[in-house]
Symmetry: C2
Subunit: 337 residues, 2 copies
């Protein structure tokens, strides 16, 4: 199947019936106005057993936690606060009711921390793998939401935290024969994979403490998400490889090159990538640090045809889009290169 | 697995973080206030290939149509207007991109008729059956939504149209060896199954043209839905068997008894069942008829412990809850008795 974006594009309406729709299909989430002051944010993400997660590498609570986290991350990337969630679960007989309760408990652990309310769901049987689909409704102040298309030449390019941790953690889990779960370096990487931390506070700051920002969450890898901003904003992004915060850089099991590959293409990191005016960055950086968010400038935005370029050791190479393929055979192979 | 309601009840929060939540888990949909004048309605329903539909009995366009219809029906049962939908599809390799486009086309056919906008979705791969999950957002004027708990002794019990048509249509489809698709009686029943008509206009009238109404949509059969109103409202419902509008009554392939069983237990009819003040019924009945809605009084509400009683030929029998089990072996057996 062609990639989701192209596919949805073919069924997307060009015009909307409802005058309150502000953003339809195409960004991290949809936006519609609900009152003179607020707009609601709507998104859905689906995790399939064997494709997006495996029982061997994720506890039921982790699965629930992550299924909600990926949606909260979409709300964060739009600059909103998450409010409500509803859950659709197609459940095979191999999953017990206790498993399901643990999945919901994992969701609730994360949801409670954002004061989100579970508002409903539909639980049905299936002969296939577990399919867990979560819908999240968020909210933002009118006009204060973030798209991908607002990057401009001269902007700085910023990332909210380490990259590649999820892919590295998954690699460890698939090769856990000798894995020491007490080792802190291991645990940090596993945490990135099993319990990703959506960047809601950073998203709110990008929306409210800048005059303008283009933002994506890193669900499909830095390269892919940078390309989305470049294409939507019609600019050229330049990333400085040497300053990229590589989650697996100091871990003995990964070479620098592996840590870099995970960061560029691994995906599921759920950091935010933002382009914003250079003169607003110093003050914002301080604010983010005050909140404990280790945001870093990793590059710049320049005029030019949509492109993403990686700069390293005086050279520059075009960065391919090459997205994340979950833990397909190809990806596991890549992980163990 | 225990039934969905009991199961969700175990994970449902007792209190809400968000002050704007009006209705959480437990009715046809959730409600939260979005502005001083309006409340939004949120619901999700999931169809699984082999459980809720089969390629042998439903075209891809029908599947899409129905996946959206079941959600619009939930919005109708709350008295709202449907506005937006997003779609999650877990798609096996046996379904082509053209199939998917037809599914979306079926959704759009129905969605367009309500001026609903498709706002997004997530399409993922699966090794299992097709799982199609649709989330709908609707809206209602503040305080003007319908729950199950507002029935009172003295009310009339009303249904918006024929019952049992979906189950009868499915029965025909599973025995289609000799089925004449040109025959209008057949086509009517197939339509009930493949392209159910959500009762949005009726729901709006129940919400706006009565002083109070308890409403459910008939997704799980009249018996099951009547019980939900009886229990939520703590009243006793009395249904007059002789006036029930049986969709399959005049169809040569079904006995009167079969037509009745389909009406009581078949499910997926997506009519609305409403309890409302008796003195308001005559005027409302005329208004509904003006809109072409063949609503009928089928019984009364009386004081007493929660119960549903069927009256026929001077006798009365308790009506069991016995819900709909989709087209499980048991259900097909029942259909061909």
């Amino acid at each position: 199947m062609e990639d989701e974006f192209a596919w949805l594009d073919r069924v997307s309406p060009r015009r909307f019936f409802q005058p309150n729709v502000t953003e339809g299909i195409g960004d991290d989430a949809a936006i519609y106005q609900t009152s003179p002051k607020f707009e609601d944010i709507l998104c859905v993400d689906t995790l399939v057993e064997g494709i997006h997660f495996a029982r061997e590498t994720m506890l039921p609570t982790d699965i629930g936690y992550k299924a909600l986290a990926v949606n909260i991350s979409d709300v964060a990337a739009m600059g909103g606060s998450p409010l409500y969630y509803i859950v659709s679960a197609a459940v095979p007989a191999t999953w017990t009711e206790d498993d399901l309760i643990m999945i919901y408990r994992g969701m609730r652990e994360l949801g409670d921390s954002y004061e989100m309310d579970l508002l409903g769901g539909d639980t049905v049987s299936t002969d296939g793998p577990l399919v867990l689909s979560v819908t999240v409704v968020g909210r933002t102040e009118k006009g204060k939401y973030l798209t991908r298309r607002d990057a401009e030449a001269g902007d700085v390019l910023v990332i909210t935290g380490p990259l590649g941790g999820s892919a590295a953690g998954l690699h460890l889990l698939w090769n856990q024969g000798e894995l020491d779960f007490e080792d802190e370096a291991n645990r940090t990487l596993l945490q990135y994979h099993q319990r990703p931390d959506p960047q809601v506070i950073a998203g709110r700051m990008f929306a409210h403490e800048t005059s303008r920002a283009a933002v994506n969450d890193i669900s499909d890898g830095l390269a892919s998400e940078a390309w989305e901003i470049a294409e939507a904003s019609e600019v050229s992004l330049h990333i400085d490889q040497d300053v990229l915060p590589l989650a697996a850089k100091w871990h003995p099991q990964f070479s620098d090159e592996q840590a870099l590959q995970h960061a560029l293409f691994g995906g599921e990191d759920f950091q935010l990538l933002a382009a914003l005016p250079a003169d607003e960055w110093p003050a914002l950086e301080k604010q983010l640090q005050t909140e404990g968010i280790p945001a870093l400038k990793i590059g710049t935005v320049q005029a030019g045809d949509p492109a993403v370029t990686l700069h390293a050791e005086g050279e520059q190479v075009p960065l391919l889009k090459k997205g994340y393929n979950h833990f397909s055979a190809e990806n596991q192979r890549k992980g163990s290169e």
